[in-house]
């Protein structure tokens, strides 16, 4: 960041201990930076090795059969299919509920909101909501959607709405950043042509901010796909044997299915089936994150 300087040459040999102390410190900081990354990389390597049974004679745990069959007591036959479908359907509910509301809130805060106390209350509140533990959102979903709304314990809509509320602050904050990035001159030009505020938002601001909004939303959905605690609180089943037939049907999600396998102590479940489930979840998550980064890079204005 600041100007580089060769310490040793200025003060001669008397300062070499200071020089080595500095190098040691730099090296220590680098090691700390890499510690977490390398440790998780090593763990990921272990999971992949276990999921594909790379160093064992038996066939891979993660294969097409795992992706297309339901849970079974026998590790060889256990699969993740109903939970996979459940996760996808839940993501659909989340995207359809959290995306429009989050973007709407961001548009209000960036384009319409007067600079008053109500606005700053909303802003502070969104920041704080992002820090509420996810398990507490589960209690909110339980009280509002299951008990008060009567939507049925553990159904796809209840899970989707609950996790949707959870990621709403993230969607709002990232959409706000994207909208803030649209240059003001474009708005002025639109108003100069006699457009109303809504016309300006719809035809100028939103198209320009859309890549940024999409990037943030996909990252938020990536967070949503791994959420487990709120789903447990609203009564989502840990294991189901068939995929949900509709949005008001009971379902299970991939992280729930992985959690349920924790209870099977046999080695085949611990190091085989569970590893396969973790890899499936992580691959889908990484694919989503990669697509978010691609969108960001594709539309990045330079």
């Amino acid at each position: 960041m600041a100007a580089e300087r060769d310490d040793a040459s200025w003060f001669g040999s008397s300062n070499t201990t200071g020089y080595w102390k500095g190098r040691l410190f730099e090296f220590g900081c680098l090691a700390a930076t890499l510690f977490g990354i390398l440790m998780v990389l090593a763990l990921l390597a272990y999971v992949f090795i276990d999921a594909f049974a790379l160093f064992e004679p038996q066939p891979a745990w993660l294969d097409i059969g795992f992706l297309t069959s339901a849970h079974s007591r026998f590790p060889e036959r256990a699969g993740i299919f109903p939970a996979l479908v459940g996760s996808v359907m839940m993501m659909l509910v989340i995207a359809l509920s959290a995306f429009p509301v989050g973007v709407g809130a961001a548009i209000y805060l960036e384009e319409y909101a007067p600079d008053n106390r109500i606005t700053s209350l909303i802003e502070v509140n969104i920041g704080n909501l992002a820090g509420v533990p996810s398990v507490v959102y589960g209690l909110l979903g339980l009280a509002v959607f299951v008990r008060f709304g009567g939507l049925g314990s553990g159904t796809v809509v209840v899970g989707g709405f609950t996790v949707g509320l959870l990621i709403l602050p993230i969607v709002i904050i990232s959409a706000q950043e994207a909208i803030r990035g649209v240059p003001d001159s474009m708005r002025q030009a639109s108003y100069g042509m006699g457009a109303t505020r809504w016309q300006t938002v719809r035809r100028v601001v939103l198209p320009e901010a859309l890549p940024g909004i999409l990037t943030g939303t996909i990252l938020a959905l990536g967070r949503a796909i791994g959420e487990t605690a709120p789903l447990i609180m609203v009564g989502v089943a840990t294991t189901v044997f068939s995929p949900p037939s509709g949005f008001f049907d009971r379902f299970s999600a991939m992280p729930m299915q992985i959690y349920s396998w924790v209870e099977y102590p046999s080695e085949a479940f611990q190091y085989g089936v569970m590893a396969a489930g973790v890899v499936t979840l992580l691959v889908i998550l990484l694919a989503m994150n990669a697509s978010a980064i691609l969108i960001r890079n594709r539309y990045e204005r330079r």
Partner: protein, 312 residues
């Protein structure tokens, strides 16, 4: 952007147009107001059942009782074991995350080149994006057996869960601390170099103290995240609430414990009937958890805001 443009347009469609504009504005306001409603909803739902719970179990018995047994008779609702277990995990994970996070922030802000930073920062973000149930699996299946070769560990234990919680919150500490360090004006660094200080002395003697409130704010936020973390401790730390005292920390950290969040998961999965005292205990813990993390988040905002005023 705030001036009224409607008065320029004098066509007949004006009133229809402005009605539509106002409806759209109202719709967007409703979206933004929903966030306040969510907060109100959380507080209302937690209070509703928690207050009912506190009429049956006195707050004094809840917050000072040392026995937690909501599912097995004789029922007992002392939350202290869960609180001390949460505290244990928070402290142990802080011992992992805070030094590593600050060191990483110093490296990224003071030493790393732009290219290295552009690789390491997204890599750190990936750590934060891994689902916590996966982290729990890592702790249970890989970390515990590895540590078990030289430590007297139970299958479920506080130590491996805490280490993994620590790794999970490193990105939070490092990214917020790095922002704070990057915001320290270069003139301060140059003054240090002008006095003949080395890069090490400038980093530790000038940048870190100047950014201390930002770093502190990141600590509070990270601890709040560790307190509310659920699935890692549920999967890897077990379901055995234990009263932690200064005398037994060294043994309890190798054993199975149960944090507040893990107790909520256990109650959530159990078949305690809706409306029973045990069911409402869920909301009492939830309220406690919400209050603690909410206050910590506010505190972190406040500390960070103090810092920002200094340099802008």
């Amino acid at each position: 952007m705030s001036e009224n443009r409607g008065s320029v347009d004098l066509t007949a469609g004006e009133s229809v147009r402005s009605t539509k504009e106002r409806a759209i504005r109202g719709l967007f306001f409703a979206c933004a107001a929903l966030s306040v409603l969510v907060t109100a909803g959380i507080i209302a739902t937690l209070l509703f059942d928690a207050l009912d719970f506190f009429t049956q179990v006195s707050p004094a018995a809840f917050y000072t009782g040392t026995n937690w047994s909501p599912e097995i008779r004789p029922y007992s609702y002392g939350v202290l074991p869960l609180l001390t277990n949460t505290l244990l995990v928070t402290v142990l994970s802080a011992l992992v995350a805070l030094p590593i996070g600050v060191a990483a922030a110093i490296y990224l802000s003071e030493y790393a080149s732009t290219r290295i930073r552009s690789v390491i920062k997204p890599a750190l973000e990936i750590l934060a994006g891994i689902p916590t149930v996966v982290y729990g699996y890592f702790a249970l299946v890989y970390i515990t057996p590895a540590l078990d070769t030289f430590l007297p560990l139970s299958t479920f234990n506080a130590l491996s869960a805490s280490i993994v919680v620590g790794i999970m919150i490193v990105p939070m500490v490092s990214s917020i601390s790095e922002d704070a360090m990057s915001a320290v004006p270069d003139s301060l660094r140059e003054a240090g170099y002008g006095m003949g200080a080395t890069k090490f002395e400038v980093s530790t003697g000038i940048v870190v103290p100047a950014a201390v409130s930002g770093i502190f704010s990141s600590f509070i936020l990270a601890l709040s995240r560790a307190i509310g973390e659920t699935m890692i401790v549920t999967v890897a730390a077990g379901m055995t609430p234990q009263m932690v005292t200064p005398g037994n920390i060294d043994t309890v950290m190798f054993e199975s414990i149960q944090t507040m969040t893990a107790a909520m998961i256990q109650l959530g999965l159990s078949d305690v009937p809706s409306g029973s005292t045990s069911y409402q205990a869920l909301f009492a813990i939830g309220l406690t958890l919400f209050a603690v993390t909410f206050i910590m988040n506010l505190l972190s905002n406040w500390v960070a805001a103090r810092y920002r005023e200094e340099y802008r």
